[in-house]
Amino acid sequence: MEATPAPAIEVRNLTKTYREANALDSVSLSLEANRIYGLLGRNGAGKTTLMSILSGQGFPTGGQVLIHGKDPYENDGTLARICFIRESQRYPDDFNARQAFRAAALFFANWDQELAERLIEDFALPTKRRIKKLSRGQLSAVGVIIGMAARAEITVFDEPYLGLDAVARQIFYDRLVEDYSLHPRTIVLSSHLIDEIANLLEHVVVIDKGRIILDEDADSLRGSAFAVTGNQEKVAAFIEGRRVLHRDSLGSLASVTIQARLGATERAMAAELGLEISPVPLQQLVVRTTMAAQTEPRGDHYQEALK
């Protein structure tokens, strides 16, 4: 292993206020280079605000942003190494896709035209039609192609899939894994389709009401929560003292999602009690954690307990 390089992006105590509302509330994050991050959260949680600051395009009200260890607002070179594709990415009115790609090729030093051509074909994108006239899916494809072919050291995609059908999304994910394997870079993906991207992520950040409620390696999250199902009283006895993320019940049957790492002894004990233990998929874990955070005064509880 090489010595740990400076994080690709580091933010400390970031605050962003719009009029009265806190869009970001004291956010601190460190994103390591050459990893794929998932930024998840509900609508209005602060994802887009955070992403535009992470990519040096938005100014925080307070706090500090360092990109490759430097202040992005004072270093001209930094921004050309970052590609941020917004969900509502704008292009000049009279541009067609071909022109947009040509402009991107000038801006991004690592631009790969071959990859762009291949993606144009994959998405069957009409390159001579004005971007204004494209469908929502085709517009997303333009963004995806720029984001991928730019091969920027830091690539940020804000819900890049809007309007893309399932096949086109799969093409995006496949090409992303493939190209990232050959050209590792720091990628931040925000998405509501958690189950679709879960396996691509190395690290998951969940934001809620402007605060980070989860910042954890994806694989250590998997297996950090379980659903315990069975007789209500036995379930209650088994889960005592553990943090409950969710409860369901049906008659005398209860199913409770708890945050816990269960060892062999505990599993044997559950089996002895006739309880069923089932793992919780990442998507559900994120949903449960977000819901639990909204009913609890502070969200960092989960973070603490994971350590």
Binding site: R35, I36, Y173, D174, V177, E178, Y180, S181, L182, P184, D195, A198, N199, L200, L201, E202, A218, D219, S220, R222, G223, A264, A271, G274, S278, P279, V280, P281, L282, Q283
Partner: protein, 129 residues
């Protein structure tokens, strides 16, 4: 090869999938295993996660690295894995089976004869293949 499920650490699943191929004999000893990027593309997972799974098997002596070429299945890997699986067999399969049998009121004798029948049927099927 099977599919990845999203509720368990993926690197462990990758290690298990490779182990299963070795046990089944599809990945023979001293042959090269797919690269991290091939695993990533095939299972649509993060390459770093695939690498973590492969490295786990290197640590356990199941795979070894040939510099500049790639990962290979170690000699003795299959025996090692068979031993491990046999010792986990009771906890993984027999205990749940016994528990379910008790729940359904199937006694030991009936259960034993069911297992014998199943084994015989499986052997017959295997010889047809």
């Amino acid at each position: 090869m099977g599919a990845i499920d999203d509720s368990r650490p993926i690197f462990i699943q990758i290690a298990e999938l490779v182990e299963s191929e070795i046990v089944a004999g599809t990945m023979a000893e001293e042959t090269q295993v797919p690269s991290t990027n091939e695993f990533a593309a095939y299972y649509r997972i993060n390459p770093a996660t695939a690498a973590k799974g492969v490295n786990l098997l290197v640590e356990r002596g199941i795979l070894y690295k040939k510099r500049g070429i790639g990962m290979f299945v170690a000699t003795g890997a299959r025996d090692q894995l068979l031993g491990k699986r046999r010792s986990a067999f009771a906890a993984q399969y027999i205990q749940p089976l016994a528990r379910e049998a008790r729940k359904l009121g199937i006694d030991a004798e009936t259960l034993a004869s069911m297992v014998r029948q199943s084994l015989a049927a499986d052997a017959a099927e295997g010889s047809v293949r």
